[in-house]
Symmetry: C2
Subunit: 446 residues, 2 copies
């Protein structure tokens, strides 16, 4: 099931009908939609500013690849089976308050803001009237940009269930403390978090704007623990998307679960009441792993060895047993000297669902690069994101197999960051938002 996406302008939140209600009178009737200011997608260049001295900004949409908006509301949060956008800004947060009421308040404020941001609307009251003497509610760097396919996905880390908030008994068994895997070289700067936000968009400025403003809203209640920018997706979540390449130069995500396979998505992505914690029904678990690719070593490996390591051709992505990209690998096929065409220690063999009782993950990862290290090597690799119904069955066994036997993982990858989050269900269509309204995760606090 994919998210609905509209190419016509989405209604601004204040338009009513399943959209967020203003939090208080001060915000009522203000809150300019960035997209309303633009008019429809493809608005003429130089669309006039709408208010005197205010925030209304005209900008042609021509330089942005997508202007459309996804619906914030739904049975599931957006950003999971949504067609994967090309750009990511991800942040993990530490909760800095001991007050459960403050956490609930934060989630309400994030929910309301997320709905506005996804609609392409400015946060708060903009610059109109008496707000001139106050700090703007919105930092402004996305003014005039369209919604850009933004999705915002909120998750809960193990820390939310510690002694502070009385939620220990509601911690799902699936929300484990991830084990240290063989080969992990974790950097504490990229580990854990009490909360997370995944912001994906077609325009990185829109994704960064979202994380920046959500972290600003959290001031006093939560602070960014670590953050990661991703510049290009490394998987597809729908069949209509073509297959991108990772930093090893190979197509990635060919065998990914797709949104169209609703039975498999129900089986492997969405938690339900039978999984033990009612509040997580309709939710999922997000595994986040920052994986550095030892590019200097990989790049000196022959094409033959690279393909044997992956189990696929570099050009087309076809399995080495033959066919084309989407041909199923034939692990029994042999060649010269009866050697298997796909090595048993190749990545495709060790990670394949057939080696793990059929277990699949919905991958949603990104390429990253974060400057250079002290040896002049790019600090670059794959920011692995995957949504699973149960990390114990779907991620841990696969990662154990890869960590111990996979030539790719052992020789060419180093995992430097790691975290797991419970991602609750979505906010129901028609819900009112705001100070007393609905919010992401409210079933946990009920």
């Amino acid at each position: 099931m994919t998210q609905d996406r509209t190419d016509a302008p989405a209604p601004a939140p204040e338009a009513g009908g399943g959209t967020p209600a203003p939090a208080d009178d001060a915000r009522e009737g203000s809150g300019l939609s960035r997209r309303t200011a633009l008019g429809a997608a493809g608005a003429v260049a130089g669309a006039a500013a709408l208010t005197a001295g205010g925030f209304a900004a005209g900008r042609t949409a021509a330089s942005s690849p997508q202007t459309s908006a996804y619906d914030f509301f739904g049975a599931h949060q957006s950003g999971i089976v949504t067609p994967q956008q090309d750009r990511l800004h991800f942040a993990a947060f530490d909760i800095t308050t001991d007050s459960t009421a403050r956490v609930v308040s934060l989630l309400r404020r994030w929910t309301e803001a997320a709905a506005r941001l996804m609609a392409g609307s400015e946060l708060g009251s903009g610059a109109a009237g008496g707000a001139y003497a106050a700090p703007p509610d919105d930092t402004g760097e996305a003014l005039g940009l369209p919604a850009s396919g933004l999705t915002i996905t909120v998750g809960f880390g193990p820390g939310l269930f510690d002694e502070r908030f009385g939620l220990a008994s509601r911690r799902p068994d699936q929300l484990i403390d991830l084990p240290q895997f063989s080969g992990d070289t974790l950097d504490e700067r990229f580990v854990g978090g009490d909360l997370c936000i995944q912001a994906c968009a077609d325009d990185p400025q829109v994704a960064v704007h979202a994380i920046r403003n959500l972290s600003r809203i959290a001031f006093g209640d939560a602070a960014i623990r670590w953050a990661q920018l991703g510049f290009g997706r490394t998987s597809s979540t729908t069949r209509e998307q073509d297959t991108p390449r990772n930093f090893m130069g190979f197509k990635d995500g060919t065998a990914n679960l797709r949104a169209e396979d609703t039975a498999l998505v129900d089986r492997w992505v969405w938690a339900d009441a039978s999984d033990g914690q009612d509040w997580m029904a309709g939710g999922s678990y997000l595994v986040a792993r920052r994986i550095r690719i030892l590019a200097e070593i990989w790049d000196r490996t022959s094409l033959q060895e690279q393909e044997a390591t992956v189990g696929r051709t570099k050009g087309s992505g076809a399995p080495l047993s033959g066919g084309s990209e989407f041909t199923a690998p034939d692990f029994a096929a042999t060649g010269r000297d009866d050697a298997p065409l796909i090595r048993p220690d190749s990545h495709v063999a060790l990670a394949h669902p057939s080696a793990h009782g059929g277990a699949m993950m919905l991958r949603r990862g990104y390429n990253f690069t974060d400057g250079a290290d002290e040896l002049g090597r790019l600090d670059a690799g794959l920011f692995f994101l995957a949504y699973v119904r149960d990390p114990r069955e779907q991620f841990v066994p696969v990662q154990n197999a890869l960590s111990s036997s996979d030539v790719m993982t052992v020789e060419y990858l180093r995992t430097t960051g790691s975290a797991l989050f419970a991602v609750p269900r979505g906010v129901a269509p028609g819900s009112a938002l705001g100070a007393e309204g609905a919010y992401v995760g409210q079933e946990l606090f009920a």
Copy 2:
């Protein structure tokens, strides 16, 4: 003068006619154009792979905003007056050899590779034939992607003119050691460099691929000293581009020099023989400054104070003396109590050409964010890039004024990185490239 840009596929380098010649026989006739593999822009989805087991990759161009290519060759290097692309990967390098011949060899290899990358072509021989047992010449992550408007711009830092290479007498007077400005809090991880490469593109994956492969080509001769990713441009270099916003939420680059103003560009951007070093005629000087924005402080400032600090409205970008974005500021205009409408200590007043003898810069900067600091604040800001004919007249006086008096600079900005590079002229159309061929900067070594 803007660069020519073609929307039809550019000829692959091996097609001859002012395009690079193969470096050696091993590369002859191979080197698949990524764009040739795609066919024309907008090729149908799933274009077939062209070679068996090789690198030819089909990918629809639909997910990339631009497929067109700029010409590598010209009187000036590309990436200066080229319409500014939305994404940046910048790298500064230390030269790690003491051999002048190796530096020349590196520049020849970079030149040949840059021409191929800008045309959307794969580096080297691809995966055909005997190369199967060797490491691929191209790391592969841009396979199937169009040229994406990539430009590659090479610069020389002061270190190239030290005792190692016998070039001290050819160091331009303009290539100063930048002074430490008041308020600079430089981090040695982002300072200096013997060489630099600026890679700009519509697709960040294409820009990162270029820097990665050029740094790989440099192995043994030069290593990345520091690198910076930029996710959104903060200026326009042609009038047809709309004005983007920086991380302070304001439109940036409204008064930027534009490529169409050729007389001003000749006056303020391009060096000529009268500037003292013949080899720099047709070149320019690139100032690179990594400026962190103290967003938490800025974001708590009232809109009124923000606008007074900048000297423009946040919404439309109009000067506070009135009019619209492109109205010239009137620094003499006064309001209540005869106070100037634009404060003398505002950014626009202190940076304006009228305060500096008419001096202008061609800005080409980018927004950046690099994770979070130990206090949970995004490490984000402006990666300032500007091309000038003489930094002593155009950058240093302006920066001195800003560092001492500009409320924005003093209160809300911290410069953490700084470097200056001499950017030589372009490689003439029709030049042969390769082991004996033309290269960027060859006039310096003549």
